[in-house]
């Protein structure tokens, strides 16, 4: 079940955590080592596990008492073949820095869940341009001719979902629900292969929940703890996606001290955030 997945094991350079890292490697899970210790000893352990179990083992010495990570290391955590939820509406509110780094590191075979594929050269469009996306689950791709071309030539799988249904499926994934019942799509091509449910004489489609391995989120403000606030329409899918992935990574326009965002103005509470990408 964990084969090919990536696990970040904190404090894994020694002791019980090292044991956990070895046990995960044994079932072919790639490992991100993390912790403090003597560099040569860590390097030896890293090499041994990689050789013994035939998995990828990387080391990161980030201090995870604060959830901060460099852009490079944040993206290094994302394995090829991962499912990503990426916020943004026509590129507005997409984590551009994370997208650029995904392209730089050449993370291939991604499944991208997003409202749209923006346009070539912008937002998620850059991932499509670079040929990194094997599947997209989106509500609209009409303004990205590259996605259309790849869909027609079968280089990319495209699953089109009504926008209100897409955001509700993501919300369900983050809120612990199996799915939602929506009237949208009843008696249209969207109904194909879905369960139809009558409630009080009205027809609904059962639309199942969506989750992702990683959600790279964009926000206007993030405080040191990871509390987030958004700007205008750059909010869109971001706060909903922040709840629906195993690992949530935030790239904020501005990192500010704790307290700058008043409690009433926090849209995404800090415990939902696993990593905050540092500036520079």
């Amino acid at each position: 079940m964990l084969k090919g997945k990536a696990a970040v094991v904190t404090g894994s350079t020694s002791g019980i955590e090292l044991g956990i890292a070895r046990a995960l490697a044994k079932v072919r899970c790639n490992i991100m080592f993390n912790g403090f210790g003597e560099a040569s000893a860590i390097e030896r352990e890293r090499g041994e596990i990689a050789t013994e179990f035939g998995v990828k083992v990387a080391f990161n010495d980030a201090d995870l008492s604060k959830p901060t990570v460099s852009l490079k290391d944040a993206v290094a955590m994302i394995p090829e073949g991962a499912t990503l939820m990426i916020g943004g509406f026509m590129g507005v509110g997409s984590p551009e820095r994370v997208i650029d780094e995904l392209v730089r590191q050449g993370k291939r075979n991604l499944t991208v869940i997003a409202n749209d594929d923006a346009i070539p050269g912008r937002g998620i469009g850059k991932l499509v341009d670079a040929g990194l996306v094997s599947k997209t689950i989106a509500s609209h791709i009409g303004l990205n001719r590259e996605t259309q071309r790849k869909m027609i030539s079968k280089k990319m799988e495209v699953d089109l979902v009504p926008q209100g249904t897409l955001i509700e499926r993501i919300r369900a994934g983050g809120y612990g629900l199996g799915g939602v019942r929506t009237p949208t799509g009843v008696d249209t091509v969207v109904e194909e292969g879905k369960q139809r449910i009558e409630v009080n004489g009205k027809s609904y489609l059962l639309e199942t929940a969506l989750r992702a391995d990683f959600a790279p989120i964009h926000s206007f403000l993030a405080d040191y703890l990871g509390n987030l606030a958004y700007a205008l329409i750059a909010r869109n899918f971001n706060p909903v996606m922040a709840m629906a992935a195993d690992t949530t990574i935030v790239a904020a326009d501005n990192i500010v001290p704790v307290g700058v965002i008043a409690p009433d103005h926090v849209v995404t509470p800090a415990p939902l955030i696993d990593y905050l990408v540092t500036n520079g």
């Binding site: 509406f89 989106a138 791709i141 209100g164 955001i167 949208t184 009843v186 205008l232 329409i233």
Partner: protein, 218 residues
Amino acid sequence: MIMDAQSIIAKRIASELRTGMLVNLGIGIPTLVANFVPEGIRVFFQSENGLIGTGAPPEEGMAHHTLTDAGGRPVTALPGASTFDSAMSFGLIRGGHLDLTVLGGLQVDQTGQLANWMIPGKMVPGMGGAMDLVTGAKRVIVAMQHTAKGARKIMRKCSLPVTSLRPVDLVVTELAVIAFRDGRATLLETGPGISVAQVVAATEAELVIPKTVPEMAL
């Protein structure tokens, strides 16, 4: 003043606006409706990317990348505007909070079913918010030209995949205003200088034609 087809459609639809309404305008002709809001009428325009209180495009040099409409064009936010995430945006649309949506159309059939999101094998852009808007808005008005390159778009039955099982309320073209009630299409008004016979000739659907059909008051 002689108006072009798009302006006739947009201005006629704008006369349906009432103060206090929450209104969503689609891309294309529907967007033009905002240019014809009657004097003294104040409505809230929603952009489904997360804004109520959408205003006109900003002055040159005043655009901001986090303030666009659902088509990606720079807009302004009027005093009293609010922003929200996509779950709330579509909760507003599906939950019966949206008074009116104006959408473009490829075809409408005589029962009011709309097809406006794909042409199999030719144009598959994705439905975006269209299916939710037609399913959930309290009132749905289609803004479109009456024919496309001579082909009739108001048909007996849509040949393209439909957007929702819910029929639209009104279709406004440069030739006619047609209402859909009880599964039938009724001709309410004709376009400027257009006769009933001209509308019938340009329409495949069977129309209910009242004794008197006034011309659009623009």
